[in-house]
Symmetry: C2
């Protein structure tokens, strides 16, 4: 998987790069927990039921990627805590999208699930809906991906260095 991982990190597709950074179940669930205010190693381990070495490795990677940062414990003890960077906080939209898809498709009728509520009104957020610049609903049928032409990146690099 090593070579593929390098390829993803340098891919001209933003989805591929995002998947390279956070596209595994444990990273996504760690981020979810930090969003929920779980910020210490022991608490994350209890929440996720994850082996120490795997949790350690995932946290290290997320810090190295600039998604999480460590800071001294807020209670003044010698522990440290994990916090979202600005880059990490921007993952909120992805978490909401995962949540809403799960709510819509992965529960039977009447089955209870956790809900994401706004603090002020205590009501669920609106359903995310991709739209074009005119505000019209967008889906995979009325949108398309324009690829980077082969060689463009290299030319741009040369232009910048000149």
């Amino acid at each position: 998987m090593g070579a593929s991982k390098v390829a993803l990190a340098k891919a001209p597709c933003p989805v591929a790069r995002a998947v390279d950074v956070i596209g595994d179940r444990w990273s996504l669930l760690i981020i979810r927990d930090v969003f929920d205010g779980i910020c210490r190693f022991g608490a994350l381990q209890r929440s996720l039921g994850l082996a120490r070495n795997i949790l350690t490795e995932r946290l290290r990677t997320l810090v190295a990627q600039g998604v999480l940062e460590t800071r001294p414990a807020s209670d003044g003890t010698a522990y440290h805590e994990y916090a979202l960077t600005e880059k990490g906080a921007d993952l909120f939209t992805i978490l909401v999208a995962l949540r809403q898809w799960g709510e819509g498709h992965l529960f039977t009728e009447g089955e209870q699930h956790s809900v994401l509520l706004d603090v002020d009104g205590g009501r669920p957020l609106r359903r995310l809906q991709p739209v074009d610049v005119e505000g019209r609903p967008a889906n995979y049928r009325n949108s398309y991906v324009r690829k980077v032409p082969e060689g463009v990146e290299q030319e741009e690099d040369r232009a910048r260095q000149a």
Copy 2:
């Protein structure tokens, strides 16, 4: 990982269930490719540079989960193609969220990347922004997750069976 996987599939957290179904790099990239119109085994393999057995396993899982379905090749040959179900098509929002996060945080200034454009105007989609029911921007600081109280699910189940 077996036990944890079962736990995720039955978790009361919609994010956990979503991550269980699509939270690995290859599943997410397969789905991205099918959104882009790549729908045959060989073409997916070339696009992803993935071992046949891994691709086979991931495709089988995505079909079993109801995200993809198979259908006869559109050209009348004996091949079959993979297509998004309605459940799979609803992953569009997650793909857009991944793309926009990647665009915003994983490219250097001026570095070229592929872009998602609307068919009509050829312009990038608007940036997804979670909002509350009043339309106010929502983030992890002004929202919170209300968990399912312990035992609620079981009681609901009993009530339905009574």
